[in-house]
Symmetry: C2
Subunit: 260 residues, 2 copies
């Protein structure tokens, strides 16, 4: 028994950290598809296929709870994954808990920053409108952010400039809540807070996701393992830098899409 977590890259490690607070000694299996990051510009058909391949891999590794830590695949593939594999494993994603939190907090105007694919899927918008049809949602695709963060950059001037340009239109719409709709963005939280100011409440869907676990009882205390589709040493180095308390001791390079 173990928890499988996947993301396009390193961002999902922040969710691993949150999961460890709830299940301190649990075996965690992480899959970071760093060979194909960023996911946000890919076509839905490719994203759905990737999410399914990774889900099946994590099930084969014994995962009985699977956390789709990636907003993009949560938006596009979660319904399908649950339909096909939900009878065998509990599968949770970040969009629904994030949207629920935003709908609970918002006064009138919700800002959504996310990848292009997440924005275009309409998943956040549907989940918010189904709870609160009085709200307006203003979405902004932020394609430049993930590459900055995956390169280890959380503070450069070009990054800040890009972030300001993305957030300005949302500030003009007088958003009172901002969803950080990509698992990478909370790593920029201090910079985002500086730009939007105190009047805007930030929603981190990754923080909400742990509360949405329903069935998983917890179990074996095996050794956690972290897979990446690109270079494992490089992944480990960046993981130490971005999420120092990730808790993984073993990093393995494994590309799911290679012929087995």
């Amino acid at each position: 028994m173990s928890i499988g977590i996947f993301d396009s890259g390193l961002g999902g490690l922040t969710i691993v950290r949150a999961l460890r607070e709830k299940y301190p000694k649990e075996k965690m299996i992480y899959y970071g598809d760093t060979l194909r990051v960023p996911y946000g510009e890919k076509k839905p058909e490719e994203l759905i296929h990737l999410a399914e391949r990774i889900t099946v891999f994590l099930m084969e590794q014994g995962a009985q709870l699977i956390v789709d830590a990636c907003n993009t695949t949560s938006a596009l593939a979660l319904d399908l994954l649950r339909e096909k594999y939900g009878h065998e494993v509990e599968i949770i994603g970040v969009v629904e808990p994030g949207a629920a939190r935003a709908a609970a907090l918002a006064k009138a105007q919700v800002g959504l920053m996310a990848t292009q694919a997440t924005v275009n899927s309409g998943a956040y918008q549907r989940k918010i409108f189904s709870r609160r049809s009085d709200l307006d949602v203003h979405s902004m695709a932020c394609p430049q952010l993930v590459p900055f963060i995956e390169s280890g950059d959380l503070s450069s001037y070009p990054l800040q400039e890009a972030l300001e340009a993305y957030l300005e239109p949302l500030l003009k719409e007088q958003m009172d809540v901002l969803i950080m709709g990509c698992t990478h963005y909370p790593l920029l939280r201090p910079m985002i807070e500086r730009i939007v100011g105190e009047g805007v409440l930030l929603v981190d869907p990754g923080k909400e996701v742990v509360n949405s676990i329903v069935r998983y009882p917890g179990g074996d205390h095996g050794a956690s393992i972290c897979y990446t589709s690109s270079d494992a040493q490089d992944f480990a180095k960046k993981a130490d830098l971005l999420v120092p308390d990730h808790g993984f001791g073993t990093f393995v390079t494994y590309d799911l899409l290679e012929e087995r």
Copy 2:
């Protein structure tokens, strides 16, 4: 008792025609949002709002069956519309029956031509993969086609050139089925057939949708009425040209988004 049908423009009139075969004397209420056509480039939050406004309007007009004839809003808003209004009216869309038909016919490679918003929503891809995970789906957004058709052009050389450019990559993928994933596209069927040849089966989701009606018993035989958000005379003229047997006698200009 009556059937409400809506679309971004004129394309949905082909579905009215099909509905009349099943319910010959039924009162039909059509809403064509020609003021805002094309829908395919709009943001999900706007599309979901528009679809909800139109649905509520049709319910107010007494519709007890609502057909979302627009692929784009079927892809983005149908789940939400059913969740919110499904207990009061039967609501059906074109994506699910279209995807089901494609999954039933396809050998290996499915081509999907649709608006940008429909492609990006991932709705067709999910519905196909949930039925057949052995299939590949190749999607192509065709943003230039709707404006041609709404202007009444079904045969010009620039239109044919655009269509060939859109279909070529799908032919390269050796699609054996092609979904005409926008209610406008079946009006180009002869041209599409010429380009793809006999080896490719065409799926017209609008033809499948009538078979997906479950609850509606049929009823009153009142006078049908056609609303458009732009000029009613112009709409009537184009309707006569594109779908001569549309069957509407009354055309009314009514913009839902104007303050009532």
